[in-house]
């Protein structure tokens, strides 16, 4: 009996948590189909904001900018971060601790500090704000996250695996690509996904280094809301939410599939 009550309370609790998290998004999606520009009143169903969105060139170009920045910066950050993690792992304890503190620093410090200091740096070296500066800035704040997600995998790895590969005839490079890389791949992928999503939705830092011509989506949305909140933004946000949701569901399905395969003990696909 008490068990039943317990499960009722816990279900209720989960429901409340979920409602807090997803109600605002559901409201936003609902209003993206609202016929009126008003934020308060519902005046019928329409898809015209979606149609407007597709024709709005400034939004589309900002979206393209965002994607370019996210892809390039997260790929480069993943390469640099993975290499750094491998190097850090091979260090002696004292220098490793020192480097790790430097790695945590950008993660711990407020983004606005990073944004302002990067802006000052570019101004000092007379680099014009462009996609290039945005990409450099995003790589800078993403590298630590990649390092922090790859390092635990390296630490978990049996330290003799690398030697075993050498023992079986691998050159050090082959040992890295054939044994070490597959071992730490989950960490690298996690690092890449973190870097990609952080880059996608970064506003604080991009705001300071993007300038007029290289606006990313978050920066554009911010500047649009200063004038008026267009329902187009609701439509755009709704699309982004659905895309992210789809990606998440796909990754989870993939995980479940692999888990099943593991349990069957099949050959790795």
């Amino acid at each position: 009996m008490t068990k039943k009550q317990n499960s009722l309370t816990s279900n209720l609790y989960i429901f409340i948590v979920m409602a807090f998290m997803y109600l605002p998004i559901l409201v936003m999606i609902a209003y993206s189909f609202n016929n009126s520009k008003s934020r308060g009143a519902w005046s019928g169903f329409t898809t015209k904001w979606y149609a407007d969105l597709i024709q709005n060139e400034s939004i589309l170009s900002a979206l393209l900018n965002t994607l370019i920045v996210a892809v390039i910066s997260s790929v480069i950050a993943t390469l640099l971060g993975t290499a750094a993690a491998v190097g850090i792992q091979a260090m002696k304890k004292r220098s490793r601790d020192l480097i790790m503190n430097f790695t945590y620093l950008p993660v711990m410090s407020p983004e606005i500090v990073m944004g302002v200091s990067l802006m000052l740096l570019f101004v000092m070296f007379k680099v014009d704000f462009s996609l290039f500066t945005v990409i450099v800035a995003h790589i800078t704040f993403n590298v630590p996250y990649v390092i922090l997600s790859v390092l635990p995998k390296l630490r978990q790895m049996d330290k003799y695996l690398f030697e075993a590969a050498l023992d079986l005839g691998c050159t050090p490079l082959q040992a890295f690509t054939k044994v070490m890389l597959p071992e730490i791949m989950p960490g690298i992928i996690t690092g890449f996904l973190i870097a990609f999503t952080f880059s996608l939705d970064d506003f604080n830092i991009s705001y300071f280094v993007s300038g007029e011509r290289a606006q990313t989506l978050p920066v554009l949305i911010y500047s649009m809301t200063r004038k008026r909140v267009s329902p187009e933004i609701n439509a755009l946000s709704a699309i982004i939410f659905v895309v992210v949701l789809a990606v998440l569901i796909l990754t989870n399905l993939n995980d479940i599939r692999r888990e099943n395969q593991l349990q069957k003990g099949g050959r790795r696909g």
Binding site: Y160, D167, K178
Partner: protein, 375 residues
Amino acid sequence: MENNTLISLRNITVAFDGEVVLDHLNLDIKDKEFVTLLGPSGCGKTTTLRIIGGFVEPSEGDVFFDGKKINDVPPYKRHVNTVFQRYALFPHLNVYENVEFGLKISRLPDAERKKRIKEMLAMVGLSGFELRRVNQLSGGQQQRVAIARALVNHPRLLLLDEPLGALDLKLRKEMQIELKRIQQQLGITFLYVTHDQEEALTMSDRVVVMKNGQIQQIGTPIDIYNEPVNAFVADFIGESNIVDGVMIRDYLVEFGGRQLPCLDGGFGTNARVDVVIRPEDWEICKPADGQFHGTVISSVFKGVHYELMVQAPGEEEEWMVHTIENHPVGSEIGLILTPDDIHIMHKMSPEEEAELLSALEADSILNDEDEDDEE
């Protein structure tokens, strides 16, 4: 140097951060031989293995393989494979792919590759396990994969670093016999590292007993057991009674208040020596008939035998006696030794004795720990 010597270590010295791990070590291993490096943790046995594997560079000295100096040859170019302590199997590959790994790197043709892997898996008793993932296997099965993965490359020399340490007793005994069978069947030289004296005595053609980076004794298991050169070897190789004695003259020794004939000579006259008596060598008789007699002060059942501690009246000496018949605590017994039961060794200096004690203590504590002598 004999013709069929496969590996020669000459004056090998290794020091990590000023700490000497190997001290001018010389060792020859013959082709097709099963040699075991035996010693407590930190004695340098794993480091010796890693020097031959190419993972540690000696600070001094040379390594010869088949008569050629290989100091500067990297591990991946040596005709040597290793079975690592914790197996170091590749978790992202299945059993077949793990065994295939070395052959793939050396680009062996497909047909030959398949044939060899099939043979090897059959030899270690893992046919039908090809598609299993390695972390789904039991410890013993992982061990077999590690052995197959190394041997499938047909190395001239197989290095085994405490490969059975993580297995339970029964499995360990089975694998000891199986390893010996595989070694004889393939005719490959095995260099085996362990701190388990029983393992060393069971499998090896020759045993190398090491301490503090130096070789104490090299010999067949029977030599090492019966004729230890010093108290360290005697004590490490098996439980022993080691007592002070005086060599009156050749073939006559005095210890425990008795003068007894023995088979050793060449120590001089009235020389202080260590006397070793294996607990299983005592013959038990009536108190009046024995060379020694005393009271049983403890009796512990050890499975095959009882371990008695016997103390003579008015003497400090306690004798450890192994017997298959129990004698209850408090009973009086007599003890007899024949001359070949008495082993005479040169006395160790007090420093050496202290080292022995601490090494043995450290070993009993660290028995299942990783060896940390490479760092």
